[in-house]
């Protein structure tokens, strides 16, 4: 024990503390920088292949058509690269059964909106993505004292990201139905939704 203590006394405590402090700074900086400096994030892989504000139904996932790692063929997916810099974006989809999900991811992969199908009834989703800055987008019909001509969609603040609609693979008999449902989902830029 005395030998160990004698050995430990040889270390300069200030140096040890300085080393731990430097390690902590490097640890925190690396962790926070990792999403930005990662070589192939999901956004990097998908963004070049997608057109802005257009829903694209991907082909069935297979070894040669796997857009992302760990994306299994247990689901068909439709994706939309939304961009609200030039105005609002409307997304509509239907989640007819359990396993169906609609998720909006920001560029770092964090989900900003998520919805899942329920067993008892189909879920109709109508989203209006609005820019996340302080831009004035005009008065709503309600603010102008008028009734809105249609049911107000849920407004979500977002700038750029990915909307991913997943349809679970329920077997061969359901594939055409699922694909048709995916094709009905829309993602489009809207000039004015009032």
């Amino acid at each position: 024990m005395k030998t160990i203590l004698a050995q430990l006394r040889k270390f300069d405590l200030r140096l040890v503390l300085a080393a731990f402090f430097a390690m902590a700074i490097l640890h925190v900086a690396t962790t926070f920088a990792a999403p930005s400096i990662a070589l192939a994030t999901a956004w990097d892989r998908l963004a070049p292949a997608l057109k802005s504000n257009t829903m694209v139904v991907f082909p069935p996932v297979g070894p040669d058509t796997q857009p992302l790692p760990y994306l299994a063929p247990d689901s068909r997916v439709a994706m939309c690269l939304f961009d609200t810099r030039n105005g609002k974006v409307a997304i509509t989809a239907s989640l007819p059964a359990p396993g169906w999900t609609l998720t909006l991811y920001d560029r770092t992969g964090a989900a900003i909106y998520v919805a899942a199908g329920r067993p008892d009834q189909p879920t109709a989703i109508s989203l209006l993505l609005v820019p996340d800055d302080d831009r004035f987008m005009g008065l709503t019909p309600e603010a102008q004292g008028r009734r809105s001509p249609r049911q107000s969609p849920l407004q979500v603040q977002a700038r750029k990201g990915l909307a991913v609609l997943r349809a679970p693979d329920a077997g061969y008999a359901y594939r055409a139905i699922n694909e048709a449902e995916l094709s009905r989902a829309t993602c489009r830029s809207v000039a004015d939704t009032r």
């Binding site: 080393a19 962790t31 999901a42 996932v61 992302l68 790692p69 760990y70 359990p98 679970p168």
Partner: protein, 249 residues
Amino acid sequence: MIRTLFDGTRLGGGLQTLPQRLFARAAPGARSWTAKLRGTSFWRHQVKKRIAIFLRLLTDWALFILVVLTGGFGSAYYMMDVGTRLSTVTEGPWTLWTTAARPDADPYTRAHYARLGTLPLSSEIAETWLARTDSSGSALHSSCDYELTLRPPESSWWSIAVFDRDGRLIQNAAERYAFTSDTAAISPDGRFVGLLSRSAGGGNWLPTSGAGNLSVVYTVIDMSLATGTGDEARDLSARVPDITAKGCR
């Protein structure tokens, strides 16, 4: 030696830090330390001594930097790749990142999925478990056969898929890559029994031929996760499949 830099050196009698001593100007009329050294028979010894001091200083700083880089990057890599109790839940070989794809996700979880390059389902509605070893802790490999057994959750959609180590699907003529609650064959006793093997098998067989190291992903989509009233109330060990090695070739 770094201590010398902080505390100063006693060479020549005065207490001066090393940089001061190396770069200090000689007093007017006095000879510089280099001139003094050159005039003595010990100058070679003195130069050697100073080179040794410099090399020790260099080595100590290199060691210091190496320790800091290894510790800083290594700990960050471990937290991002493997995870700890701060960001994951583990049960046997299975790991679940508890705040996957949530707006309030911790930085390690964000970095983990950014590095993987995936878009995980939000943990508000789904659990995505990943295993790279069997239940005994040995790495999953395509040269071995494994049996997956699970008592599937009721009224939830789930899937089990097999990938190679990097998350790529494994080429196979049968085009089998995953089973879901809709496509899996369930035993009469209510269990799902799957087989990971490079040789064709019956039932829920997933081919693994030629993949090398394997990873298995088990996904459960359960809306009741958001309310905390669903499957998460079950014992953890009952919620994930057992992966048992049946033999290796």
